[in-house]
């Protein structure tokens, strides 16, 4: 809290690197299986 009456919450940031799984997930077996199944069964997307 400060003089201007606002409550400020500092946010931390998770930096992107190889270890956070973002890139790894792209090439994971699960992702490949998903892509393969999409092609055949799920063109519109599971939320479509």
């Amino acid at each position: 809290a400060s003089n201007d009456g606002l409550l400020r919450i500092g946010l931390k940031k998770l930096k992107l690197d190889h270890n956070n799984g973002l890139a790894a997930r792209l090439e994971s077996k699960e992702a490949k299986d998903l892509r393969a199944s999409i092609r055949k069964y799920n063109f519109r997307g599971k939320l479509g």
């Binding site: 009456g5 992107l16 792209l26 092609r39 069964y41 799920n42 063109f43």
Partner: protein
Amino acid sequence: DGSDTDIVALKNYMDAQYFGEIGVGTPPQKFTVIFDTGSSNLWVPSTKCYFSVPCYFHSKYKSSESSTYKKNGKTAAIRYGTGAISGFFSEDNVKIGDIVVKRQEFIEATREPSVTFLVAKFDGILGLGFKEISVGNATPVWYNMVKQGLVKEPVFSFWLNRNVEEEEGGELVFGGMDPNHFKGKHTYVPVTQKGYWQFDMGDVLIDGKESGYCNGGCSAIADSGTSLLAGPTTVVTMINHAIGAVGVVSQECKAVVEQYGQTIMDLLLTEAHPKKICSQVGLCTFDGTRGVSAGIESVVDEKDGRSSGLGDAMCSACEMAVVWMQNQLRRNQTQDRILNYVNELCERLPSPMGQSAVECGSISSMPSVSFTIGGKIFDLSPHEYILKVGEGAAAQCISGFMGLDIPPPRGPLWILGDMFMGRYHTVFDSGKLRVGFAEAA
């Protein structure tokens, strides 16, 4: 309710996360939470969580060590894309910054089966959405903040620091906005559906040119709990094509272009009602507003009682092809070029809820993508919508756009996550029921 869980599913993608610290109980027990405008409950792991591995990697709330704990005991469960959390409601004081919100309902999670929570850097989630979407009708933290007179205005705002060189993650301000973190004036739009911070949005521009799909209006949700941007497959495919993103090749889409492409174009040129074209060519049925799948499935390659879902896919492909062609005709492209372009688009479909890789070396030549909100244009440059992971030769680049198809009446819908809220300082004003965006500073 399926329509709501559709949207929550995006919470899988928590790769560029912003989180903060809160205290629960007296004395405060510390937890790292995601401040999420796309949900409305507060949950933290419970010390009574015995059988879920993620609980052993995170801080856990111990009610017996809090002098302000009040028992509730009502069971609760929240579904996410790859799993769910479940547990029971409790009541205690919650410390956020220097203020203490008294008698706050929250969920003590006793089961976190998803691997998402195992690898997560945060312990729980603090929802900043409306009570209307709160599980168990629990009152969200910010409602109590306002009710207990802890903030002067019923407003909160986000500044997310997108500068990768800087340690500071950002700032969530309750009670107003910090003038140091935005430039100019905010553009405000009314909240159209209380629950999420949802508002009406106009067209999406690619390299300054209309994509056409949201000409008639789309909805959007400002969601701090989502890292990326998600929107209709029709538009994301166009973006993928423009930025060279790897996509899924759709044979159904190619078949539609090959067999019906010319017919669709002829019908568009004769100024037939575009929404009726796919039903006219027999790929969809018209429901009064748009083409929908007739539910006729191909049985040719049916195995083990499963059909290929081809009928549905062909209808969707046709609906997209109509938008793509219409857009190109508006730009006076030749018919050959249009058919070729649409055929190329069929190779760039985004994986549903998946991410698409792009060439890191091409980022500077990629087009801007812009959103029309409140009649104003909000640009994102390629450096803002592409995530670069790693450095040097090992660097990988991922498009920030994902496909998400939500049917009317809630959709078509865009989810504007941290990627958008990083570029644009975002104000959530519950008093005037509006959302505002201004250039972040």
